[in-house]
Symmetry: C2
Subunit: 797 residues, 2 copies
Amino acid sequence: MDRRQRETSLDDDEPAMVHVDTNGSGAVSFNSNGIDKDLEEEESPLDNIPAIFSKYGDFHTIDWQRDLARDRLRHKLITNKKRDWPLGLLGSAWDSGAGWLCVLMVGMAAGATAGVIDIGARWMSDLKNGICADRFWLDKEHCCWSDDKTLYKDDSCSAWTTWPEVFNIYEKSNLYYFLDFFFYVSWAMSMAGLAVVLVKVFAPYACGSGIPEIKCILSGFVIRGYLGKWTFIIKSVGLMLSTASGLSLGKEGPMVHLACCIGNIFSYLFPKYGMNEAKKREILSASAAAGVSVAFGAPIGGVMFSLEEASYYFPLKTMWRSFFCALVAGIILRIVNPFGSDQTSLFHIDYMMKWTFIELIPFALLGVWGGILGSIFIWANIKWRSYCKNSAFLGRHNINEVLVVTAVTAVISYFNPYMRKNTSALIKQLFDRCGPDDVTSDLCDYRNRTITTSKVDDNYHTGIFGDGVETAIWQLIFALICKLIFTVFTFGLKVPCGLFIPSLAMGAISGRLLGITMEALTTSLQASGGQSEWMSCQIGKDCVYPGLYAMVGAAAVLGGVTRMTVSLVVIMFELTGSLEFIVPTMVAVMFAKWVGDATHKQGVYEAHIQLNGYPFLNNKEEYPYSTVASQVMRPRRDEPELCVLTQDGMTLGEIEALLRDTDFNGYPVVVSRSSMYLTGFCTRRDLQLALHSARKTQPYIVTASVVFFTPTVPDATSVGGPAPLRLRKLVDLAPMTITDQMPMETIIDMFRKLGLRHVLVTRSGKVLGIITKKDILEFMRHQESGFPGSVANPNFN
Amino acid sequence: MDRRQRETSLDDDEPAMVHVDTNGSGAVSFNSNGIDKDLEEEESPLDNIPAIFSKYGDFHTIDWQRDLARDRLRHKLITNKKRDWPLGLLGSAWDSGAGWLCVLMVGMAAGATAGVIDIGARWMSDLKNGICADRFWLDKEHCCWSDDKTLYKDDSCSAWTTWPEVFNIYEKSNLYYFLDFFFYVSWAMSMAGLAVVLVKVFAPYACGSGIPEIKCILSGFVIRGYLGKWTFIIKSVGLMLSTASGLSLGKEGPMVHLACCIGNIFSYLFPKYGMNEAKKREILSASAAAGVSVAFGAPIGGVMFSLEEASYYFPLKTMWRSFFCALVAGIILRIVNPFGSDQTSLFHIDYMMKWTFIELIPFALLGVWGGILGSIFIWANIKWRSYCKNSAFLGRHNINEVLVVTAVTAVISYFNPYMRKNTSALIKQLFDRCGPDDVTSDLCDYRNRTITTSKVDDNYHTGIFGDGVETAIWQLIFALICKLIFTVFTFGLKVPCGLFIPSLAMGAISGRLLGITMEALTTSLQASGGQSEWMSCQIGKDCVYPGLYAMVGAAAVLGGVTRMTVSLVVIMFELTGSLEFIVPTMVAVMFAKWVGDATHKQGVYEAHIQLNGYPFLNNKEEYPYSTVASQVMRPRRDEPELCVLTQDGMTLGEIEALLRDTDFNGYPVVVSRSSMYLTGFCTRRDLQLALHSARKTQPYIVTASVVFFTPTVPDATSVGGPAPLRLRKLVDLAPMTITDQMPMETIIDMFRKLGLRHVLVTRSGKVLGIITKKDILEFMRHQESGFPGSVANPNFN
């Protein structure tokens, strides 16, 4: 056994504590002899419950097939009891309803959490600028509402006190501006600092967006504590703080993480889910849907996100439950009503936007731009993060890193109106049209507006720009560049931070800029008398809606960054509710995906998964390899032969030596070492426990005792020698096997679709080796980098 | 070999014409000796194309893994040529774009087809009542529009001539009514008769809804001609005729079939899809989405339908393409604009419906009712259809059956205003509220309307019923009962007929009835002075929207009949575009699904699949069996042993005898008959072709020649005897194997998720038997009926 094999082979294969052997009757076959009984009593506090619950070590991969088999077994036990009226029937009904009850609770909790976080983040965000004099617990908007009931439009009101005003400086002097600036930056830095300290001290897992980890967890990876209550509490508080600090981050990704924490916590109320990792992931999938649902106010989009991006195993029953969960969360959020309006969508568009077919060209261009921008972002972010990962200095100074990034962001943002305001509010402004009452904003400084303001018209302005628009354009370009740079450095900080909102903001700015350009172009075309046929719009009416371009651009950049497709379009559709709008989004997202995939193969989540080295087997990609099992399996040609157990030839001492000398997590059981014909598979943990227990409780078992994995054991007296040890019950008689000529694509398909942890490779019935999930991931990495690695060339045949 | 094994084992296992042996290099290993070359030249017209295309016999199951492997191989060949500038690059680009181009074309064609059918069916439907005097090609609505531009509301206009008027009978005498009735019934019967004759003569597959068959086809079943051009043409025409004939059927289900026909036809333009059954199903999945998209004007609903109901293998790439396809189809339909309005949705609701939480109780009741009604319908329909299937008399009189059902339907429908009108129009009327201009309909005959007609109010009427409402209620109850009975006898007739519209109609009637009842209840509660707190609505305003109840009821009954969940809710959501409305639908659909599953386990499509005996492995159900592979595999314990080929011990004559005596479609190749260690698998067809070819072209091959399936063949001269025959290349070295103790649930999972056709069962490396898809289906049928069948009890331990 060389060192490499030792490290990779099967070492993610930590066995469940108790082993299920599905024999013909389907019942659990325990306790047929004293050894197993002792073993169970010693180790499991649940010794009166059959072994239908799974337990895995930290950073291990779960075995979907075995967990689902356990659940079927549990289900059978309950179904059998169904006849015992009334308790059995009640138990059965409870079992059927548990899933629905659980997702109902998750949905309600997710909706409430989202509402609280929205309100909290908004209040803290406004705290940077001032405070409500009478009622400090109100944010600026509500403060002004409670002050007077008139329309509130980005203006100050008397009840709202800025920080200089708190210190009785009302005159807009240099001191006033300095104090304002000082408080803005200080608040930002204290909030970000508090967030990072909370994360570092209480819950290190609460940082980042969490979506890469959620993807891994849903694919069957176990990260203990990642979805725990501490992570939930700290991430909730930290998310409010970091959002409010004005860093270039969003709260939508972390909301998915929070929803999954809720799902995990509630699942422990239902042992069916809490004690079975595979079943728990059904609840987590539904939770992820609820998270997106509350983040964007898009329940169907949430389900599609869970299906497309997050989930791995997503049967239709789970989809239906996810939908329910997402909907409940959305309703609760609407009842909490954090925005004080009837809208649950983050950016509700309440006006009709029309477009002509010729505009699909700029939309496609936006898509291309989105793909390029997304790839630049991912590339730069990954470069910076892997530099940080390897830098000892930065590794020690996480808190300072956050403070520096916050300070730079706050200082620069303070002077740009578009960067200073809440990013969601910025996106909303960019999506909106210039209405008749938009008089304060540079963006809507169109000339000749006095002509038409008398009548409130849907198509309102003339499209001829004032000076303000030019200022706005330069400010937006500056904001775009800064946003990109800030986000590159922000994503991956040790604070809760999501990517959706910054991506949407970058896209919205790009789109709005293109929209304004298109508008100017159209206006000048019309002004030059050439009433162009193809635009089919009349002079005096604006046929170009810059807000639509902003939406399309937002979708394009988000598509370029995350490589989402269907779910993104559905989310954008739910924001508007108009079928009309799907086509431009779809064109942009399509181009963003194509261009993005061409320039940087991985989306940001996949890139971070790879950066962190999680064992994630992407189920979206196709692998056109020309390799067969024998080239990937362990042991390789130049390695020592496979460690196996023989079914009736080994003594207790030999097996103990094997366990001591190797650290594989499981061993194939064969008929004899010379023939190598496969009988079954035995996990390390089961073996260890059984041998230990036998040594302790059965004094006649000695080192020279022969261990039998066969159904029948020769009579000890007739054979002579010490009493044999029977361990038949430890053997999994149905290991997944493949032949050595099986193409790797098929094997990868099996791993992905069946959720395997390992397969045994055989030829003509003989065991040749083993392939684990890690072997496959390593092989895929080698293939991608074009490096054949240590994959030997086969010359069987 | 007993007869049963012969029939079931492997008989759906028709091999592909050319065999792909993926060896270490991943390249196709053909033509390495003369035999294979001859074989290929003799049989395949594509001998310069590598064997990357699949071919299956009629009513056979495809092998997904092998087909996808073929496609990967094809893809590799193209990728390798990529360097040959410019042709290779162009080929590669074409290959990447082919899928998108194909679904684009499918979407456009599906949209156009739907438009034409909508227009045609509407014209023919109006033909039953009369004809447009000046322009016979116009339907009633367009005829009256072209006559005068005033609002047209179910009234007659001068340009529209009823049939009695054609014969110059204008007075509304008995003769007038008799002629009107006579023409109505005659037209109905001639249209239905023409439809059934067309179907019987030209395309027998054009009958029915097609969705059960589409489900089977998408799950990997091959039905030649089911998606052919004749089926398409006849089904299009027949669909217009049968819809127009007034039979209780819809055109939405057949629209899915038509879209799949289009997908199939267009896929032949792209050999990548047309020649590979597994890849073709990606296009068909997208087509199914487009079909639903045009049927309901719901693109996202279409994708969800394809995902939930129709498709089997639905990777994300296909989903994204399906979405594109559905969207294109929807846009084209909007351009064709068959309804003369801007709406693509079938039943567009343009008013806000509000509901209170207490109303969830009646919505849940509607769900329960929907489940019960659905189960009654399925049960009765299946009973009648299986009676028809077994009745020789009815089997011979298909045409008469259609004529009788049509006549009865037409005669009864003529006298009921709700049954007489187009079913879609009826549903629309039931969904609508009673607006101020609804003066002709009994349904909206509310008292005190004169008080409020002066102001056009959203909440318009008083809720106190006039006599008309009572009449309407009785007519609706009658219509509901008749619809149910008619639909039971109609679904399954030899004309194109769908189920969606009749189900929706039954549900809408039930819902509207409940809605009116609720309205009366509320009004009387309010009138009695008890201004109930919980209804939170004011006197004079109607808080109950009967139209909302109709929508919820429609969703509930459709849910009860088809057992759709997510897709149904999404479709209903897209009809209204309001999130507000999702919750009631979801509650109703949830209850309909639960109650439906409790009363009649299978949905209507599954029931019809079972009735027709298609080999469909449902991927929605879970199977809690306690069985292992050895109990299901063939041969059984009481049957003769497995037929195998030995890798080096059999003569040509022996193999020929084996092929003659048995009719399995494949044989395991083993090391020796005594050891039974598995080497590979060889299909019958490959063997037959190879032996035939060898006999013809190699005169030194005689009956006593030993056939070698081994990589090395002993030198003929050293061994003595006739020259050996080398058939190594025929052997599939990577057959899927399982052990005899594998639980059946895992095996079913493998079949479903990997799309297998058979697995070989081994123990300790020895081949014990084989399990085919048919064995599994037979086993599942036995388990469901509680009959253990011939499944032997294992005592392997």
